[in-house]
Symmetry: C2
Subunit: 195 residues, 2 copies
């Protein structure tokens, strides 16, 4: 997605060979117009998949998920990273290890929100080692719902999550695949690799 890649080149900060900071438009400050375009793109790619619900993880997944949900006209559910007192114990859960934060979190979704007849699109901001996406996928499958695929804003193609998850048969659509962050620059994979 050209608009996204240009934004990453212009505003992304390469903190190391593996860490790309996009706090000005995705992870802390959000660019609503860009999110709308991202929503349109995900909606277009999954328009024939019969999606009935979108599931993401708080917090950075919410904006792209919401815009996709608006266009596909389906509810958006965000998995919580820990239990809240206003959620009951009626939960689907999975454990996700974050390499960035070096900690494990339980993610959870209320059982009331997902049903066997649902067809779910998973949305997240980043895909790197794939822990979060695997957790989301596990959690949704516990409900008996079908997972139609995943929409990822930025995939780190030099990490193994995307390859592993695709090899397991899940359709993964990433709007920008970063091939390398070496020497402080962002190199994207060729567009054909995006498919």
């Amino acid at each position: 997605m050209k608009m996204l890649k240009e934004k990453i080149q212009k505003e992304g900060i390469v903190l190391s060979d593996t860490v790309l900071k996009v706090d000005t438009f995705l992870n802390h400050q959000i660019d609503p117009q860009l999110m709308q375009e991202i929503g349109k793109e995900f909606a277009a790619r999954f328009k024939d998949a019969g999606i009935t619900k979108i599931v993401t993880i708080e917090s950075s997944g919410i904006a792209p998920a919401l815009m996709t949900g608006l266009i596909l006209d389906v509810p958006v559910i965000f998995a919580r990273k820990r239990k809240s007192l206003t959620l009951s114990d009626n939960l689907l859960t999975a454990t996700v290890y974050s390499f960035t934060k070096q900690e494990s979190n339980d993610i959870s979704v209320s059982k009331d929100m997902l049903h066997e007849e649902d067809v779910v699109l998973l949305i997240d901001d980043f895909l790197a080692n794939g822990q979060a996406l695997k957790g989301l996928n596990d959690l949704v499958k516990q409900s008996g719902a079908q997972v139609a695929g995943a929409g990822i804003v930025i995939e780190k193609g030099f990490q193994t999550g995307g390859k592993e998850i695709r090899a397991n048969g899940l359709r993964v659509e990433s709007l920008a695949i970063v091939e390398s962050l070496v020497n402080g620059g962002v190199v994207f994979a060729e567009e054909s690799v995006n498919k």
Copy 2:
């Protein structure tokens, strides 16, 4: 806001005389069409305020804030509830006590995101005792930016936060003011009180 109040009456669950659960459209599952209408309403109420940035708190504030930002065409910043490794120490911070979760959190926004010339609209999902909104207000003022007001989706009018904050001179616009949750029912304040 009629559409919101009808949704609360239809789907809100009164857990106690003080706790209203709206997990089916705001705090866990999100209704994108309703969020769009909420965004339109906030944008209309603050259209002449010269807003340059919207500031909210993760996670439930993000959806209404994003939709408002889309219509006002300004960036949305979400305060984080704790430090992330990809954020530097270059932070504006405030401490917020949550009566619901019975814990204190530091909320923070990067100093890079807010500047003296900014005119900020604060958005949050709930206003009860006002701790979160006061924290957000303090945090933004540390940057030297001006706070034009606050947009709240649901205010608990029987708690004191809204009164206190308005008495301190901040403009607060709440789309639904709940006057009482006694006996398992939701009673709204009269629309004229909303102003």
